[in-house]
């Protein structure tokens, strides 16, 4: 019991969802046992999608559903969601969403839409893997996440170097991204 409580003290992510414009899965990752079966997961995705569908979430938006806090953001036909418990710090969830969103934007070279996402699904799955590990937040900086995921396949050893190169290259193309990763600072 004590172990369980202490786990609660740590910021915990319950799931990260990337859905398309009809609420279908592009990539999802669940870290909590709140939704034990695939049908429970699908039902949750459906209710999240329906509840948020009407909103125009160009920037981070937020909603409560079944005692969960959901932060979300939509771009074109892609819907990004991050879910946490109802006593979670909303801004932490938002930071995770931000990291995920930035990383995907970098990976898709600013062409954030469903088809592009599916064509780069391997990279998106790697992204998810680098953001959260079993509910624990691993990394929240979008460019670092993208850097880790998009390691150039042609390079062998010395990958850490190639990461640096890669990130630099991405920044050169998308200077605006520098700003977006600063979520959480006072303006």
């Amino acid at each position: 019991m004590a172990t369980f409580l202490s786990r609660e003290v740590c910021p915990t992510i319950k799931n990260i969802l990337l859905l398309d414009s009809e609420g279908k899965r592009v990539a999802v990752k669940y870290y909590s046992n709140d939704w034990p079966t695939n049908s429970a997961k699908l039902a949750f995705e459906k209710s999240v999608f329906t509840k948020t569908q009407k909103t125009n979430a160009r920037t981070e938006e937020i909603a409560m559903l079944e005692n969960n806090i959901i932060v979300y953001r939509f771009v074109q036909d892609l819907h990004f969601f991050v879910t946490g418990g109802d006593d979670e710090n909303e801004l932490i969830l938002a930071t995770v969403l931000h990291g995920f969103f930035d990383a995907v934007t970098l990976i898709l070279r600013n062409n954030v839409e469903q088809r592009e996402a599916l064509e780069n699904l391997d990279l998106i799955l790697l992204c998810l893997d680098e953001i959260v590990d079993g509910g624990m937040i691993l990394e929240t900086d979008g460019s670092i996440i993208a850097g880790k995921a998009a390691t150039n396949s042609n390079m062998d050893d010395g990958a850490s170097l190639s990461e640096q190169v890669n990130v630099k290259w991405l920044y050169a193309f998308f200077p605006f991204l520098g700003r977006t990763v600063c979520f959480g600072r006072r303006e």
Binding site: A2, T3, R7, V9, C10, P11, S21, E22, R25, A27, V28, N38, K41, L42, T55, T59, E60, E61, I62, A63, Q76, D77, N89, E90, L91, I92, L93, A94, T95, E113, Q114, R115, L118, E119, L121, D122, L125, L126, D129, D133, G134, M136, I137, L138, E139, T140, K148, A149, T151, N152, S153, M155, D156, D157, G158, A159, S160, G184, R185, R186
Partner: protein
């Protein structure tokens, strides 16, 4: 980007471009054979793994055999030196979560990667291996993990730390051995490493309070780099504060300064975490709260919805306990009502309803109406509850609030939601006399089109009790009779009872009611016909001998004074032992078992039971009245004027718990002692209280009612009655001694006791009858009108010095409690920092004398409080008495 616009129109085309279109499990599993090729095509393999992951992600499952097959072929891919492919292999292994005997296959490959020169490999191999490993393997790799924790590459260190957090759940004894390394990692310069290390260190030490306290003490003084780690530290700090409890009498809370300092942190995440932590400190003071509220208020006007939501949600919670602290944010909160995000708007509204003042009610209601349709039922119920308490706070505003309730009653909604609205209206009708007529009409309109039988019957019952007392009762008949024509049997039966009540109360309506009741004789439901016949008989509609008026009314309105559970047991006994004799209701014991009195639900109104709906919410006053009237000795005392709140006469946790309720009658007072026996081994018999009234000269004891037996944990009551001069607010002090016979309980499970008992007594605390006991709190909806119409004939004005006081609010509430009157129009709330305050009170003094009081307070720099008291009443003696109360208080 015009592209998506076009796309939306032809989704079908779009789908054809999907790289996974027409993907099928069997085919992909076939494709997976490429993993076995001697010449690996890394690109091709990556694609196949992606396809497999896609299938898993879509919810597809692999059979055991399929999974094993895939797993084995995937392990072959470790031969490839392609980084991208290796990453996919890691992912795939984690997804497949192989069994223990399969894990062995990849262990050596993963361990090799763990020692690779490539940091990316090392970090990922650690995470994969820790995910799939079991205890035995863990001891083999422990050495590497310890090294990894203090690795100079932050990604590797984080991977090891996070894996440690997961492993702690399954192999705590191993992970605990790493605490030196983890401790070192806490000092890391890499932000996230510090965060992960802190989380792990705390989890390792969580059962050692002292260690946690030390950790917090050292870190709050040091530097914590990442905002996430700072948030963690704030959470740990609040934990330490909570466990250390209320500290020294200086009022300084340990670590509060640290939390307050975090409010000035550069990251919003940390500021918010700290503000939130402060608001939930146990027993938080206004002074501690203010800086947190201030930053939250800033967040309210942020451009980011997440920030606004977080702030308003926290303030909403604060408003439940400290409404005054949140009032400063009201203006910012009001602008949030029109927020695009409905969650934020709902939270803002419910917060405002908790903190709002009278002048803002109308505006607020207008804004709420617009958005009610947007939110879910559960939220609506919250809003309805908030509106009800608001209405009770500002009775003057009942009109707009009642209108609002009736409007939402007409809209779509589920049972719980509708019930909340109906309950609210019923409570408002009871507590605000002016609201009665309009409220009843709203309810009438509602039952015209109500799909819930339960609500219809409840409303009909309520209508029967309240309707006849209104100025024009006949207008309700139409609504009620419509039910008889249109509804199901349960509702029809209910409506028949309601019609009968109108007939019994109002003679002029009787002939017309009879016509309606006679029509009900042809109903096709037994219960409806039975009821109609019964009422026609009792009311004399069929020309037979009419029972006395009193009996009829008692039959119709009197509630069943027998606890339903007792009734049920008696009836069951009767059925089991058939006899020729009819069931005698007087044979049912009336003593209440096992339930505390106040929680007792009002019993159904008729012995026939069926269709008798539970009545609306009953006040405790009703319960008391019923108890007292069931005791023959007290029936001659007349109408109960007031019952006080229970006064505890024993300390908590003593052998016997006793409290007293003072019932005031015109010429008598009755003390009701509620006793509870908390010793399982004892049965008390012949329990009574000896009251010494030597310090209450005007009272003389006239009778008492002992309690026959008081078993363990079953509350019982004993009564003592006193006579006092009529209409005079006699005061005095009473000392009490509880007397009883103790019997040892032989068997605690059955409560069986020995035959012989010992007499014993138990000293109770003293209590007083004070002037406020003769004052009933009765609100007026419009104080100014009431004040004007009362006239200045018996007005008495005087000024008092109250001496130095803690605060103005404290002085105001002291005077209100002293007088025992109802504060009107929310004037009992004193805005913080104000130097003067006016308070309006109203009440009903014994002898049914209306009393209105205007209080004006002022406080000077030395906290000296002065008060002007103006009283208006219907009798100059009463006005003088009020001044006497204040002067002697």
């Amino acid at each position: 980007m015009a592209q998506p616009l076009v796309k939306k129109d032809d989704d079908r085309d779009d789908e054809e471009y999907s790289p996974f279109l027409g993907i099928e499990k069997g085919a992909v599993l076939q494709e997976a054979r490429v993993f076995n090729d001697p010449q690996l095509d890394a690109r091709r393999c990556s694609q196949v793994i992606t396809k497999l992951l896609y299938l898993l992600n879509q919810g597809e499952t692999f059979t055991k055999i399929e999974a094993t097959e895939v797993f084995f072929s995937v392990t072959k891919l470790f031969q490839s030196r392609d980084i991208g492919l290796r990453r996919m292999v890691y992912l795939m292994i984690k997804e497949l979560s192989p069994s223990a005997d399969e894990v062995i296959i990849v262990t050596s490959s993963l361990m090799k990667d763990m020692n690779s020169r490539t940091d990316m490999y090392r970090a990922n191999a650690i995470r994969v291996l820790c995910r799939i490993t079991d205890g035995t393997l863990l001891t083999q790799i422990e050495r590497y993990l310890k090294q990894a924790i203090v690795d100079k590459n932050p990604v590797v260190a984080s991977a090891a730390l996070v894996s440690g957090i997961h492993l702690l759940q399954t192999n705590p004894e191993i992970v605990k051995r790493w605490s030196n390394e983890v401790q070192e990692a806490v000092q890391s310069r890499a932000a996230l490493v510090q965060f992960h290390a802190l989380a792990l260190l705390h989890q390792i030490r969580q059962n050692d309070r002292l260690a946690v306290s030390k950790l917090v003490t050292s870190l709050t003084k040091g530097t914590v780099r990442s905002p996430l780690a700072q948030c963690l530290l704030i959470r740990y700090t609040s934990q330490v504060i909570r466990e250390s409890g209320v500290n020294t009498q200086t009022g300084d809370r340990p670590f509060y300064d640290y939390l307050e300092g975090c409010l000035r942190h550069k990251a919003e995440m940390v500021i918010f975490e700290a503000a939130r932590a402060i608001t939930v400190l146990s027993g938080v003071t206004t002074r501690e709260l203010t800086p947190a509220i201030t930053v939250l208020q800033l967040f309210l006007s942020s451009s980011k919805p997440v920030l606004r939501f977080a702030a308003v949600r926290t303030l909403n919670k604060v408003a439940m306990t400290h409404p005054m602290a949140v009032t400063n944010c009201n203006i910012d909160m009001e602008s949030l009502i029109s927020d695009q995000n409905r969650s934020i708007a709902t939270l803002a509204i419910t917060t405002l309803l908790k903190t709002g003042n009278e002048s803002s009610v109308d505006r607020l209601m207008k804004q709420i109406t617009n958005f009610m349709s947007d939110i879910a039922d559960e939220f609506k119920i919250v809003v309805v509850d908030a509106i009800r308490s608001l209405c009770l706070k500002f009775p003057l505003k009942y009109r707009s609030l009642m209108n609002f309730l009736s409007n939402i009653l007409r809209e779509e909604g589920g049972f719980e939601y509708k019930k909340a609205i109906v309950d609210s209206i019923v409570i408002l009708i009871r507590d605000i006399p002016d609201a009665k007529e309009s409220g009843l009409l709203h309810l009438c309109e509602f039952i015209e089109d109500c799909e819930f039988t339960y609500l219809s019957t409840q409303i009909l019952h309520f209508l029967g009790n309240e309707g006849p007392k209104t100025s024009d009762p006949s207008k309700y008949i139409r609504y009620i009779y419509n039910r008889v024509i249109l509804e199901n049997a349960t509702v029809r039966a209910s409506a028949v009872s309601t019609l009968a009540k109108f007939g019994a109360m109002i003679d002029s309506l009787k002939p017309r009611i009879f016509i309606l009741l006679r029509r009900c004789l042809f109903d096709n439901d037994d219960e409806v016909r039975d009821r109609a016949t019964l009422y026609l008989n009792t009311l004399g509609g069929d020309g037979s001998v009419v029972e006395t008026d009193k009996d009829v009314k008692e039959f119709l309105f009197g509630s069943l004074d027998i606890p339903l559970t007792n009734m049920e047991t008696s009836l069951k006994n009767y059925i089991q032992n058939p006899s020729e004799e009819p069931f005698d209701i007087n044979s049912v014991p009336k003593e209440v078992k096992s339930q505390p009195l106040v929680e007792k639900k009002a019993p159904g109104k008729k012995p026939t039971g069926l269709g008798a709906p539970p009545t609306g919410p009953t006040s405790t006053a009703d319960t008391y009245e019923r108890i007292l009237s069931s005791i023959p000795e007290f029936t001659s005392f007349g109408k109960l004027f007031k019952s006080s709140a229970p006064v505890e006469l024993t300390e908590a946790e003593t052998e016997y718990a006793v409290n007293v309720v003072k019932h005031i009658f015109d010429r008598h007072v009755v003390f009701q002692y509620n006793c509870t026996n908390t010793i399982p081994e004892q049965l008390l018999e012949n329990v009574f209280v000896i009251v010494d009234a030597s310090e209450a000269e005007e009272f003389s004891e006239v009778g008492s009612k002992p309690l026959k037996s008081l078993p363990y944990d079953t509350p019982g009551q004993t009564f003592v009655a006193f006579e006092k001069p009529e209409g005079v607010p006699a005061v005095g002090k009473f000392s009490n001694m509880l007397r009883f016979t103790v019997k040892e309980v032989v068997d605690t499970s059955t409560g069986e006791a020995e035959d012989d008992g010992v007499e014993d007594e138990y000293q109770l605390e003293d209590f007083e009858v004070v002037a406020a006991d003769y004052m009933v709190k009765v609100g007026v909806s419009n104080f100014r009108n009431a004040w004007e119409s009362m006239g200045p004939d018996f007005e008495r004005i005087d000024e008092y010095g109250l001496g130095p006081r803690e605060s103005l609010a404290e002085a105001v509430s002291t005077v209100i409690n002293l007088l025992g009157m109802q504060p009107c129009e929310g004037t009992e709330v004193v805005p913080s920092n104000s130097r003067s305050h006016s308070c309006l009170l109203s009440g009903l003094y014994i002898g049914n004398m209306k009393v209105l009081v205007r209080l004006s307070f002022g406080i000077d720099a030395s906290k000296e409080v002065a008060m002007k008291l103006a009283v208006r009443s219907e009798d100059e003696n009463v006005s003088d008495t009020i001044h006497d109360i204040v002067a002697s208080g």
